[in-house]
């Protein structure tokens, strides 16, 4: 329970930090859930899923459309919490369908097929742009925010992150988590001792999809817009980067990685770009730094630090 101490600065942050940082921290909390839910399938079940943004995007568009049902020609009045949950369940359904097909593929094939999926989704968004808003996406409306003001929204996202982290921690410590680790370490051996490998991989995939979908939906009600960037490759890369820097399969590692990467990208680098008045995207720094980090410590930063200490 010592890690609770780490929560204190986050709890008092709204009293001292400027508005822009509070807003950014809220985004970071949601991003943490993206990363940890990816780690559930990559770090715990050992499956390289490069299409995690599919679940995030599906969750996001589900809630956005349920809150704007006229776009799909319906008349509904769904409370926000229900449409966020719906986002999670629709993502779960897709996770089940995708997992049922793709998890029979091993190693590289899984990575390649899942890498393609987000791009199919982005294409579909553009084909049906009258529903999904095409490249621009659409705004969900100001009345659909998580809470009436920024500080309350901040606490909602913080609570959301904590709930997700606790549930995922409980999951990976349960017998289910142990079976997943067995699958990751040696698929054939796990099969030999009676673990139904495909079933457990599928369960992990569905859970990962559910958390990602809910987080994507929460993000929509925090940012109040939805667009193809929820599906896009830069987000996927940032998620993998955060998980890998922190160290796969450890929960706390990806959480720390997520904070570092997201804040570095959106706070530090964008400040540098503005200060130097460069006409480039702040992503250039992120990618260049990423390449350097991988070259210097391919086993992950915290892993390297941990080894250096011991």
């Amino acid at each position: 329970m010592r890690w609770l101490v780490l929560l204190i600065p986050l709890l008092v942050a709204p009293l001292v930090a400027p508005q822009s940082l509070i807003y950014l921290l809220g985004l970071t909390f949601i991003f943490v859930v993206f990363v940890v839910s990816w780690d559930l399938i990559a770090g715990y079940a050992g499956q390289i899923n490069l299409g995690h943004t599919v679940f995030i995007g599906i969750g996001a568009y589900t809630t956005a459309l349920l809150q704007n049902p006229e776009r799909i020609g319906l008349h509904l009045n769904v409370p926000i919490w229900a449409s966020i949950l719906a986002g999670g369940f629709v993502a779960l359904a897709f996770g089940f369908a995708i997992g049922a097909v793709c998890l029979r593929l091993r190693g590289y094939y899984l990575a390649l097929v899942t890498a393609i999926l987000p791009l199919i989704c982005i294409q579909l968004l553009n084909v049906y742009s009258n529903v999904f808003g095409g490249y621009e996406g659409f705004s969900v409306g100001f009345g659909k925010a998580l809470a009436p003001n920024l500080v309350e929204e901040y606490y909602v996202t913080l609570l959301f992150m904590i709930v997700c982290l606790l549930s995922i921690t409980l999951l990976v410590r349960s017998p289910l988590g142990k079976k997943l680790k067995a699958v990751r370490e040696d698929e054939e051996l796990a099969e030999a001792v009676g673990v139904d490998v495909v079933k457990y991989k599928l369960i992990a995939f569905c859970l990962s999809a559910f958390f990602a979908g809910v987080a994507g939906a929460v993000m929509v009600h925090y940012r109040l817009t939805v667009g193809p960037d929820y599906f896009d490759v830069p987000l996927m890369l940032t998620i993998i980067l955060a998980a890998v820097i922190g160290g796969l399969g450890t929960i706390y590692g990806p959480v720390l990685g997520a904070f570092m990467v997201y804040l570095a990208k959106n706070y530090v680098f964008s400040a540098i770009v503005q200060a130097l008045s460069l006409n480039v995207s702040d992503e250039i720094f992120l990618y260049a730094l990423l390449i350097l980090i991988i070259l210097k410590c391919p086993e992950g930063i915290f892993e390297k630090i941990g080894r250096a200490i011991s």
């Binding site: 393609i116 791009l119 199919i120 890369l237």
Partner: protein
């Protein structure tokens, strides 16, 4: 009937460009087990370099452009991939980061405008009654010639045999004195040159912009999955299948659906044959 012929002819044309892209991607995977997410960057770099050099060199600009892309491929292997080759996920991550970095750099230099490369020929010929620009026939001929040369190079030349040996058994190749690291570097350079050339030819038909890199990469993925990872000949066959699907959907239905249908087809094929059409272990 005329429509069928049209699909067939235009399918071969685009398929031949995909074959250049995918054979290189597949070669690197087959030999070095590297999934190179920066492959699309070689493609657009070829196109951009050739367009930049064109005012000075004319069509000769193709030669230095392809060679420079090859050198870049060699550099990428030597300094970025080789040091971390033991970490599978990191190889994916570093090449993906490189791809996005280069895309941003190209975007910063050339802005978000599309480029195209001037045509060799401007006439139109009738092939079985279907009008086909002469330039596209030339492109297809070049692509076929290059793939034939690649095949001969891999099966006949000494370097090619080293490449084949390394792809079959890396440790045994080291034991008989093959410098595996330099085989990998050369393979990467060849793969980059193939993609660079494909980019130049593609820029004669379609507009190229920084985002093209990612689209091309996705096609390369789709093709190698369909053809079977690591099988260069499988990739060539799959390139034409994808080319036909792409042109059929564009001609008969809606160009925006071309990619979606092609990608969904691949997923369906994978359900039936999890190792692709010509998959190797």
């Amino acid at each position: 009937m005329a429509v069928m012929l049209e699909i067939l002819i235009y399918g071969v044309i685009i398929g031949s460009i995909w074959a250049l892209v995918a054979s290189g991607f597949s070669l690197v995977f087959g030999v070095a087990r590297i999934l190179n997410f920066a492959h699309g960057i070689f493609f657009i770099l070829g196109a951009y370099l050739a367009v930049v050099l064109f005012p000075y060199l004319g069509f000769l600009s193709i030669v230095p452009s392809v060679l420079m892309v090859g050198a870049f491929g060699w550099f990428v292997y030597r300094f970025l991939i080789s040091p971390i080759k033991g970490y599978e996920v990191m190889v994916i991550l570093i090449t993906l980061a490189l791809a996005l970095l280069m895309e941003q750099i190209v975007l910063a230099i050339f802005k978000d405008v599309s480029i195209s490369f001037p045509l060799f020929l401007s006439g139109v010929v009738f092939l079985f009654g279907v009008p086909v620009p002469e330039n596209r026939l030339l492109i297809t001929a070049i692509a076929f010639a290059v793939i034939a040369i690649l095949d001969i190079f891999i099966t006949r030349s000494k370097t090619g045999k080293f490449i084949t040996a390394t792809s079959q058994d890396m440790e045994a190749s080291m034991l008989v004195g093959i410098d595996v690291e330099s085989v990998y570097s050369v393979t990467m350079a060849i793969s980059a040159m193939l993609a660079g050339l494909a980019g130049i030819l593609y820029a004669q038909i379609y507009a190229v912009n920084p985002e093209t890199a990612l689209r091309v990469l996705i096609y390369a993925f789709a093709i190698v999955i369909l053809g079977g990872l690591g099988s260069v000949r499988g990739s060539v066959v799959a390139s034409f299948i994808i080319g036909f699907i792409q042109t059929a959907v564009s001609t008969l239905y809606d160009p925006r659906w071309a990619e979606i249908v092609a990608l969904v087809t691949i997923i369906v094929v994978l359900i039936v044959r999890p190792k692709g059409l010509f998959g190797v272990e």
